[in-house]
């Protein structure tokens, strides 16, 4: 298999995968055809799509294609589906995304009130958060982190791309 074919293979894999693919996922498949410089292939692909209607994107270092931001105003007309989350869920999400990994007790401390029943459930249900091990403190509480679907939904490459808020910069939980 030549380099051109491998590039096409990678392209079609990313296009047709059910979930965003990590380099590791892709390399596992390429392995049977030889050794290839996957970084170079991905860079080339990204370049090929740079000015097109769709772009190669990654969240959490997992690759997928999405429609180009430049088309935002035109595509908005076609669709309408948005998530309808409660205020409590939105605040909880903001706390988890900014402080992850974070325990429920810590979320409650920041909000100054108990986390409403079902709030974590609603975020769990849309797969924006997931449990991530336990904190080694008394009670060993579960900690929560955001999941890739959260990044994907907001078109973020990584959690570091989240909007910043001045007030939060200097404060340690």
């Amino acid at each position: 298999m030549n380099v051109k074919d491998i590039k096409n293979l990678v392209e079609s894999l990313i296009f047709s995968a059910d979930e965003p693919l990590s380099k590791n996922d892709i390399n596992k498949i390429l392995l049977q055809y030889g050794k290839f410089d996957l970084d170079k292939i991905l860079n080339e692909l990204a370049f090929d799509y740079k000015d097109r209607g769709i772009v190669l994107y990654s969240s959490d270092n997992k690759f997928y294609f999405k429609t180009s931001d430049s088309l935002r105003d035109f595509l908005t007309i076609q669709t309408k589906k948005t998530k309808n989350l409660s205020n409590a869920a939105m605040e909880t999400l903001a706390i988890i995304s900014y402080h992850q990994p974070v325990t429920r007790a810590e979320i409650e401390k920041i909000r100054g009130k108990p986390v409403f029943r079902g709030t974590l459930d609603s975020l769990l249900e849309i797969k924006w958060i997931k449990p991530a091990g336990r904190r080694e403190t008394p009670g060993r509480p579960v900690t929560w982190v955001t999941d890739i679907d959260f990044l994907k939904h907001f078109g973020l490459k990584s959690i570091k791309d989240l909007p910043k808020v001045d007030e939060l910069e200097s404060i340690i939980l």
Binding site: S12, L13, F15, S16, A17, D18, L21, D25, I29, I54, Y64, F65, K66, T67, S68, D69, L71, R72, L75, T76, T79, K80, K81, T82, K83, N87, A88, M90, E91, L93, A94, I95, S97, Y98, I110, R111, G112, K113, P114, D121, L124, E125, K127, K130, P131, D147, K152, H153, F154, G155, L156, L162, P163, V165, D166, E167, L168, I171
Partner: protein
């Protein structure tokens, strides 16, 4: 100062404090905790009679009352309590930041609204092994559902001692063996004493449902003059 706040609109004491501090119209870093405490306690005072204030609000109120009393002390006794005030200010600033952040997140372009992720048909497959498409979140939610189902079953099992609609129909039949052709108050025929209020409620519900059932079958007439008036019943001949 006139405050017109509806407590149900606020997601907890910090939210309310934030609103109050906005009314001071100063930088949140420079708000007067003393003034804030006054407003908050005033708010609690005004609302304590009409609304059941949650424990959170009262805890916050007592914390602010404590702060207020300390702040009123002579200068040289204050030093140790600056921590407390500092902590509250920091929490408020932080909470304000989180609220802003949450809004900013949802202002970002969103999948399905501002862009779409692409998935196209393929001619082949990626994995050589069949792996079910289940996420950790699916698993946890599934367990929650099972767990809740267990609770429902247990609750029903505890309450087998209550009356059913069938019981109500039985009573109605007994009543009409005595009474004929007259209107009479439906619930007058319930025993006055029950060993639990739950049991009494279930008796009322079962008798009412039974009589509604008989009305729909064309056997009974029901009549109620006003709201909360006695429900009158008569056999339909």
């Amino acid at each position: 100062m006139q405050l017109n706040l509806n407590i149900s609109g606020y997601e907890g004491p910090l939210d309310l404090l934030l609103e109050l501090s906005k009314k001071q119209k100063v930088d949140i870093r420079k708000i007067s905790i003393l003034e804030l405490a006054n407003q908050y306690l005033n708010f609690i005072d005004q609302n304590i009679n009409q609304i059941k204030l949650s424990a959170d609000y009262l805890v916050m109120a007592s914390l602010l009352a404590l702060l207020k009393s300390k702040l009123l002390l002579p200068e040289d006794e204050k030093i140790e309590d600056e921590d407390l005030q500092e902590d509250l200010t920091q929490r408020l600033i932080h909470y304000a930041g989180i609220k802003k952040l949450s809004k900013k997140i949802f202002d970002l372009p969103q999948n399905g609204k501002d862009f779409l992720t692409i998935k196209i048909k393929n001619n082949f497959t990626i994995s050589s092994k069949i792996v079910p498409r289940v996420d950790l979140q699916d698993l946890i939610l599934k367990y929650l559902i099972i767990n809740n189902r267990g609770k429902t079953i247990k609750m029903l099992a505890d309450e087998t001692d209550l009356y059913s609609v069938e019981d109500g129909i039985k009573w109605l039949n007994q009543i009409f063996q005595i009474k004929e052709d007259n209107w009479f108050a439906l619930f007058d025929f319930l025993p006055r004493i029950f060993n639990s209020s739950k049991k009494r409620k279930s008796a009322i519900v079962s008798l009412l449902l039974a009589s509604l059932n008989e009305v729909s079958n064309g056997n009974l007439l029901l009549n109620q003059e006003n709201h909360f008036a006695k429900i009158m019943v008569k056999e339909r001949k």
